[in-house]
C-alpha cells in the first residue's frame, strides 16, 4: 500500500546527511568528528542486475568421477522486498563409478547398460563401470515478494535434465518476521517429479545380468519418482553479534528409487562368484523399496567475533530405510586486511547402512525382497577439510577460491573364503576446486 511505503531506510540516510556536519561543533569539544553510523542502506545499485558465477572442478581418486560444473546466477531486486533470480547449472561428468560388484581373484566380464557391449575387470580389481559420461543442465527460477507486512513469499521452479534423468520441481515458501524482526518463521513446500529413462531400459528387479546378444530382462518405458518436501524453520537473533537457525524437514518420495546401473554379486560357498554356466559375471540388478520417508533436524549458529565469523551447524537425519546420519560443519572466517578473508572449513559426516544394504548375495540363500550394494547405502564416515580465500576488488566484485578435500571411509563388511583377500568398500577421496565470482 503506497500510503504505508517504508521510508525508514531512506529516512535513515536523510538523517545521516543532516547530522554529519563538521561545521557544527564549536564548543569545548576535543576533536571534530562525525558520528559513526554503520547502517546498511538500500542504494540505487541494489536495484540493478547482480550476477554470480561459480566453477567447480571435482576429481575423485583412482580415476573415478571427474566433474566440471559451471553455475551462473542472475538476480535482481525489483523493489525493497521483491526480487527475482535465475540460475543455470551445467554439470559435466566423466569417469567411472563402483558398480556394486565385488572384486574377485578372477577376471570378470560385465555387460554395459545398453546391452550392446561388455567390459572386463581384471583379477583383484575393484569393479568400476566406466561407461558413463553425462551432462546435466539445470535451470532454476525464483520470485520473492511481500505477501503482507513482514510476510514474504517465495515461489520457485526448477528443471534438470540429463540423458537418462529428468527432474522438475516447484516450491513455495512463506516466511514471517516478527518480534521486531528478530525472529523469522519459515514454512515451505516443494514437489518434485522425476522421470528416469535408463540406458537400455530399467532392469527388472534382482534379474541376472545377461551376456551381449542375449535378451536382457529390462522393463519397457520410463520410470517415475515423486518427492514431496516440507520444511519448517525458525531464525532467531540472539544478540547484536549472533543468531541461530533451526529447521525441521520432512521428505517423502514415492516411485522408482533404484539405481538402474548398480548390481550385487552372487557368491558361492568359497567366497567367489557362483558359476551358473553363463560367461558374464553372476550379478543381479538391485532393488530398493519404492518409498522413502526422511526426517531431518538442522541447527545452525553464526557469530561475529571481532571481525571474524564462526558458522557451525549440525544435522541429524533419519529415514525409514534405517539410515541415520549426523553431520557437523564448522567454518571460521578470519577477516584479513583490505576486504579479504581466509576461511578454514571442516565437515564430518557419518551414516548407518540401509537395512537392505548387502555387499553381496549368497547363492545358498533365498533372494531378499530388497537389496542394494551401492556404497552410498553402506555404513561409513566422511571428512571434508577445506580452505577458502575471498577478496573484494575496488569495483565491488567479489572473488572466492576454495580448495576442499573429501575422504570417505566405509566400514568394511564381513567377508569369508577367498573374498577375504579383497577390499569390498575401499576408502576413496575427492579433491574439489571452486571459484566464485560476483559482480
Amino acid at each position: 500500500m503506497n500510503k504505508n511505503k517504508i521510508i525508514k531506510t531512506s529516512l535513515a540516510s536523510a538523517t545521516l546527511a543532516l547530522l554529519t556536519q563538521p561545521a557544527l561543533s564549536q564548543q569545548d569539544t576535543d576533536s571534530l568528528s562525525s558520528p559513526t553510523n554503520n547502517q546498511t542502506e538500500q542504494t540505487a545499485s541494489d536495484y540493478e542486475w547482480k550476477f554470480d558465477a561459480a566453477l567447480l572442478f571435482y576429481s575423485e581418486s583412482d580415476s573415478r568421477v571427474q566433474a566440471f560444473e559451471p553455475v551462473f546466477m542472475a538476480s535482481k531486486q525489483l523493489d525493497e522486498d521483491e526480487s527475482i533470480s535465475f540460475k543455470l547449472t551445467v554439470d559435466s561428468l566423466t569417469g567411472a563409478s563402483p558398480s556394486g560388484a565385488v572384486a574377485s581373484n578372477q577376471v570378470q566380464t560385465f555387460t554395459t547398460p545398453s546391452g550392446n557391449a561388455d567390459y572386463q575387470v581384471g583379477a583383484n580389481v575393484y569393479p568400476l563401470d566406466d561407461s558413463f559420461k553425462d551432462t546435466r543442465v539445470a535451470l532454476a527460477a525464483n520470485w520473492s515478494f511481500p505477501l503482507a507486512e513482514s510476510t514474504q513469499m517465495t515461489v520457485g521452479a526448477n528443471a534438470s535434465n540429463e540423458y537418462d534423468y529428468f527432474s522438475a520441481s516447484v516450491n513455495a515458501n512463506i516466511s514471517h518476521d516478527f518480534n521486531n524482526n528478530n525472529t523469522t518463521l519459515f514454512a515451505g513446500l516443494s514437489f518434485a517429479s522425476d522421470t528416469i529413462d535408463p540406458v537400455g531400459g530399467a532392469p527388472i528387479a534382482l534379474s541376472r545380468m545377461q551376456p551381449v546378444g542375449a535378451s536382457q530382462a529390462k522393463l519397457d518405458g520410463t520410470q517415475d519418482k515423486d518427492t514431496l518436501d516440507i520444511l519448517f524453520g525458525m531464525t532467531q537473533v540472539i544478540d547484536k553479534y549472533s543468531l541461530f537457525q533451526l529447521n525441521y524437514s520432512y521428505s517423502m518420495s514415492d516411485g522408482y528409487h533404484n539405481d538402474p546401473y548398480k548390481v550385487l554379486s552372487v557368491l558361492g560357498a568359497d567366497g567367489n562368484y557362483f558359476d551358473d554356466g553363463i560367461a558374464t559375471a553372476n550379478v543381479l540388478f538391485e532393488n530398493r523399496p519404492d518409498k522413502r520417508t526422511k526426517h531431518s533436524l538442522f541447527g545452525r549458529y553464526k557469530r561475529f567475533i571481532d571481525g571474524d565469523v564462526v558458522d557451525v551447524s549440525y544435522r541429524y537425519m533419519t529415514d525409514d530405510w534405517d539410515i541415520d546420519s549426523h553431520t557437523v560443519d564448522l567454518k571460521y572466517r578470519f577477516a584479513l586486511n583490505n576486504d579479504s578473508y581466509i576461511q578454514p572449513h571442516v565437515r564430518y559426516y557419518t551414516q548407518t547402512a540401509a537395512e537392505f544394504y548387502q555387499p553381496y548375495l549368497l547363492q545358498a540363500q533365498a533372494l531378499p525382497t530388497y537389496a542394494s550394494a551401492d556404497y552410498r547405502l553402506a555404513e561409513y564416515d566422511a571428512v571434508t577439510v577445506g580452505l577458502e580465500y575471498g577478496w573484494t576488488t575496488q569495483s565491488d566484485q567479489t572473488w572466492r577460491i576454495a580448495l576442499e578435500y573429501y575422504a570417505q571411509s566405509p566400514t568394511e563388511p564381513a567377508k569369508f573364503g577367498v573374498l577375504q583377500d579383497q577390499t569390498l568398500l575401499p576408502d576413496w577421496n575427492a579433491v574439489m576446486l571452486r571459484i566464485n565470482y560476483s559482480f
Binding site: 547502517q39 568421477v65 525472529t183 520444511l231 553431520t327
Partner: protein, 73 residues
C-alpha cells in the same frame, strides 16, 4: 506544524527491568546486516556442495529442500 510540549519524563527505575528476551533493536543490527553474517551468504557454494553430497551420501537437505534430481554416480 504541531508544536510539542513536554510529554516525556526520563526517569530511572532502581529495579532491574525484566527485559530478558532475545533480539536487538533495528539500529543495533549493523553487525548482523553484514553480508558475511547472512545465512544465505553464498547460495551458489551451498548449491554446489549440496549437489555433491546429495550424489555421494544418503542424506540430503536440512538446510533447504532435499529435493529430487538425479542421485546417480
Amino acid at each position: 506544524m504541531q508544536k510539542k510540549r513536554l510529554l516525556l519524563l526520563a526517569i530511572l527505575i532502581s529495579t532491574l527491568g525484566g527485559c530478558a528476551t532475545m533480539g536487538v533493536q533495528p539500529w543495533e543490527k549493523d553487525v548482523l546486516a553484514k553480508p558475511e553474517m547472512a545465512l544465505n551468504e553464498q547460495p551458489l557454494t551451498d548449491a554446489l556442495d549440496d549437489h555433491i553430497y546429495f550424489s555421494k551420501e544418503a542424506s540430503s537437505g536440512g538446510k533447504s529442500y532435499a529435493g529430487g534430481g538425479c542421485g546417480c554416480n
